[in-house]
Every structure is written in structure tokens, then in C-alpha cells.
Amino acid sequence: MNVEKIRQDFPALDSKRTRKAIVYFDTACQSLRPQVVIDAVNRYYLQEPACSGRSMHQWAAAVTREVDRARELMAKFLNASRAQEIIFTRNTTEGINLVANAFPFRAGDVVLVSDKEHNSNLIPWQMQVKQRGIELKIIPTCPDNTFDMDAFEALLDKRVKLVALGFTSNLDGVTIPAGEIIRKAHRVGAHVLLDAAQTAPHHPINVRALDVDFLALSGHKMLGPSGTGVLYGKYALLESLSPFLVGGDTVANSTYANCEFLPPPEKFEAGLQDYAGIIGLGAAVEYLQHIGFDTIRKQEALITYALSEQLKDISGLKIIGPADPALRGGVTTFYIEGVDSHRVALMLDQMANVLVRSGQHCVHSWFNARQIKGSVRASAYFYNTIEEANILAECLRKIRKVL
């Protein structure tokens, strides 16, 4: 794979244009966008900036075609049975909230989550505890942060109606054995929702093979435009759910007293959508498929390995998650005992334009339970290079000597 050639697809990495050689290690927050995605978004605004589905004119017809195409591309990307199983959202958070609010819970129903969920897959369930009297149970992970199947099974019973799990953790990059988890959950009649925000950009997902019921992802973490996302749901399930947000575009007809909802996905896509974003997301999917997940994973693994090897030698530095870099995808999260993580991140930025994330990465619960103040997360993607990993490591060695 020619990383240098790939980097040319990303205008933000063009140091001649930006006049700064940025080392971008914050893909887990948002990935960079290739020119093809930017072009697709621009094309919408420049050529056919109209509504999809509502109007009849030529622009509207063109946008409708483009949005349908993006939906189909996404359905293929996830290997969904049909395009109607793809609901466009603003992000993963919205997808999870949709399920949390639309799922037919009854008081006493149990929802299982792990102990290292992103707030987006924790708070919506906490709200359901308050609003609908469900019970939220936390599955503890193993000491090395990998999924504890025994602990999961111990909590699994007939009262469990939904298992909502982060497919790949934004904290440490660990991907859970989703297939096995889903099989076991289905055995007790529970449905499974996967938060695939950190999976979709890095691993091929086959929703049919997984037999997953719901899966949420964010477009902006997988090269798509900001504020785009997808909720996949099995069609029959989606049909059975009540809509979450309602209004324009969700109904076929209405009287003063009543309405007739459209079938999925429309009944879940209330109001005017981010057409430019959706079209851009379609372009991102095509680009990802063109690069290929083998290439992506190989490059990420190289970088995570190189980083982990160098960070091992820095005194007082601890990497969160399993020791084996191969289990952490593109994520290397660490903290230095007694050193503020924000300070490290800001210094990296100042020293060599190295952009990383610091703090608790919206997984406050995990940090609070362990009384760890925060950490620095370097999340790599296929456009990162070994040289960049070396720059980061060299800066960290310097920082360690000083702080």
C-alpha cells in the first residue's frame, strides 16, 4: 500500500496548502475526509440543492436518486437485506436514542451494557430507567478490558430484552466477539444493539452474518461528512417500532386527529434531512470500499504496534487495554502517572502539531470507577504513517523528561 499516495486524497494533510505538517491522531473523534467526499457534498450545493422525496421537479428527482443510491451503498456496505433497513441519522448517538425511545420496553425489562460504554450508549438507557422503569445492568469487563463472556452469561436471563454494546471501544480499540454475544442473547429472547461508531471505519461489518438487530454508526468517523450517521435495524423490527421523532416526511397522510405513518425508513427520518451529508456519506462508503479493509487494518496495526513498542519504554506511562497491540485496532490510549493528560495533549500540539484527544473520551464512568483522571488517546487510520508514530513517541519521551 502506498500511504503517500493515499494521503494525497486528503486535502487536510496537504502541508503545502495548510502550511503546517499536521500529525492527525484523532480519527476516533472524527476522521479526515478525502477529496471525493468533499466534492460530493459540494456537488449537491452547487448543482441540485433541493429536497429529496417531497417535490417533483428535476432537481428534487436528482437528489432523491442520489439519496437512494447512498442508502443502497450503505446497505451493501453492511450487507443488509434491503436498503429500507438503513435509517439516516445525525450520528450514532441519535441512532441509539431512537432505539432507546422506540423500543417497546416495559417496567422491569433489563438492558445490559458493558462497563466501558461511551456516554452515548449509557445515558439513553439511564433515561429509560427513569422514564419507563427498566433496569440497567452493567457487564464488567476483564482486567485487560476485553469482553468477559462469563460475566455476560451470568447476567443473561429472560428479563433481558436488549443488549446494547459498543462493538469497538473508543477507549482502547478493543472489538468484542459480537457474533457469539448475539447468538447467546437471542437464545434468551433478547435483542442486540451494537454501537458500531468505532467499528464501521475499521472493520467490515456483515449485519446478516452477525444477525444483529440494531446497529448504529457515525458517518464522520468513517470519512463521511460531519453530523451524518446510520441506524441499521432488521426490517420487521423497524416496522414494529413506534417512531421516535415525528412530523414532516414521516407520514403518508394526516387528519386533525390522526396520521398514517410511512413504512421504514421514512417513518424514522423526520423533517428535512442532511442531503449533502447523506450523499457525501455514500461517497465515503465507496471510497472505503475502494481502499479495502485489509489495507486499512494492516496500516493501523503497523502504527499501533510501532507506538506501543516505543511507549513501553517511557517510565510511568500506562497503556489502557490489552497489552497485545493487535487487539487494540488503531487506538493507543495511555496516561502518565501524575501528569495531566490535557497538558500532554496541548504540548504535543504545540511541539509538533500532533493532534490527539485527551481527557476521559466520554467514558467518564469507566475512569470514575477506577479513579483515573484522564488519558491521552492516539487513534490512527490508514492515512497515518510510521514516521508520524515516531514523531509522537519522540515528543512523549521529551515530555516525560520534563514533566
Partner: protein, 327 residues
Amino acid sequence: MFCIVSFIVLSILGIFSASNRSLAKEALDCVLRRVTFRPCTTGFDEKMKAKILGVVIMRSETLARLLNKYFEALAWAFFTLLLASSIIFARGLYLFYVTGSCNGLNQAAFCVFDPSGANNQVSTFAGCLNGEGDISKLTLEGVNLSDFPTLQPESAYRVVLIGCYTCDYTRKVYDSVLTLVRRYHTQLVFLHYPVNEKNDFLSRLGYCAYQQNPEGYWRLNEELIHSDKAMLSELTNGPSLLSTLKPETNRFLEALVSEAGLDAGRVLTCANDPATEAAVQRQMNEIVKTNFYGTPTLFIGDQVFVGPKPYRVYAIALKGLFFWLRS
């Protein structure tokens, strides 16, 4: 402490750039302990410290280590220096406004606001006078001013100007002194001392003009102050006997006196009169008693201004800091 220092520094830098303005705002929030808790942000001081360390570490790790260790102490030291220099700066600015010099009235030491020291320059003479250069000795006590030309003698307050027609600095200040006394209706007593001149001819000329017609005298004064110095040089440097003057100098002098509305013949005859010589000598002796050492020297109340000060300095001495609010 660091927040305070940053706020001050960034506020000043904020004059030049918007990004510094927004940082200054963050620093103010930090000073007021008004931290906006965004999920993943950190305090302003922590942010700036990290940025500074990030810059220093690339140059010297030892320096960065020291900075990290003594950051707060250094912030204090910097703050103290900043405070001290701000006070000195503010004082200098105030003194410059009030006295025309950063270092206080008639102090000729370097001042950034008046780098050439123009407000303190004086014309001095070669000869010796009592108390030369000593501001503290300047006085009007025991000086008989009754014989000297007085403008607006009816007003109660008095301003006394020692000047010389051919001196650059008197010329620079004369008009603003006139404006001042007219605006605030005070007396102006003008003491002419020929600092630059080899003879006292112009003093005699002024003396005679005033004897003949006070109003004409003030007009002549203005003309002399504004006239071409080259034309006056024969009068002030030569033997000053009218009969020996070049015809064009003679014509120039006559025109000058006539234009002031005076009888040129009478005034010039009087100027050459030995009795005038004696009277002018008496005046000179009085002027010397002030211990002045250069022109212009201006007395306003109990304050003495040596050198050409900006108009506002005189106005403040006369009417206070907010002179522009008073009539």
C-alpha cells in the same frame, strides 16, 4: 496569578489581533474563576502553561523542566515586573501630560513621548548669570515687574514670560502663551532678555514702543517674534546705531514699527536715546534677579516652566487637569 499576567499581556496584544482578544477573554474568565466546563476542555492557565512548555521544550529541555517546576513563582516575578513597569509607565504618561516631560517638570532626561526633548530645550547665553541651570532658584520674589509691558493689566491673575525675540524656543511658545492668556483672561508680563543677541537694541525698541503705545507694542512684539531672523541679525549683532545700518535693514525696521501702528521716527529716536539705555539696563538687572538661565521661562502662579511646553501644560497649571471643561 498566571491568569492575571496573561490577561494583562493578552489585552495589550489584543489591540493588534483578534485571536489574542479571544484568549484575553478566556484569561479574564480564568481571573474571575468563571470556567466554562466543556466536556473535554481544560482551564486557561493549564492550557497556556502547556503551550508555553511546548514551545520551550523544543529549544531546551532543561529550561522547560525549570519552567515547569517554578511556573507559579515565575508568574509572580513577571507580574511584579509588569506591575512595576505599568506604574512607571502610567506615572510617566501622567507627568508627560501635565508637565510635558515623563520625569517631571523641566526635567530634560530622556522621555519616550518626547524623544528629542523638545519640551525642555532652552536658549542660553554665553555669559554667566546667577543660579544658572538651577530650577529651584527661579523666582519672582523681589523682582519689580511694574516697569515691564503688561497685557490685560486689569485682570487679577498674572503670567510672566521671559523670552527673547530671536530665540527659537521663545518663538515656538509665544503664540500659545498669548492664546492662553487671552482664553483665560490673565495678565501677561513680557520680559525681553536678549539671550541670543550681542546688543540690547531690540529691548530698547520694545521699551520705547511700550512707552509710546502699549497696544502697538504688543503688535510689534508679535511681528518681531515672527519676523525673519536673518533680517534681525544686523540689528542684534552690530553696533546698533541706526546711522550705520544698511539701507534695507533700515527700511525693514521702519516698516516693522509702522505696521505695528507706531510712529517709527519717534520710536527709533527713543531707542537710540542714552536715557533709554539706562532704563533698559535697569530692566535687565530686574530680570537677572529671577535667576533664569534660559528662554523661554514662564511663571504661572508658583510654578516655573523652562523650555517650550505644549499648550496643555500651561493650561493645566492655570486651570487644573480638566482645563478644557473650564472657561
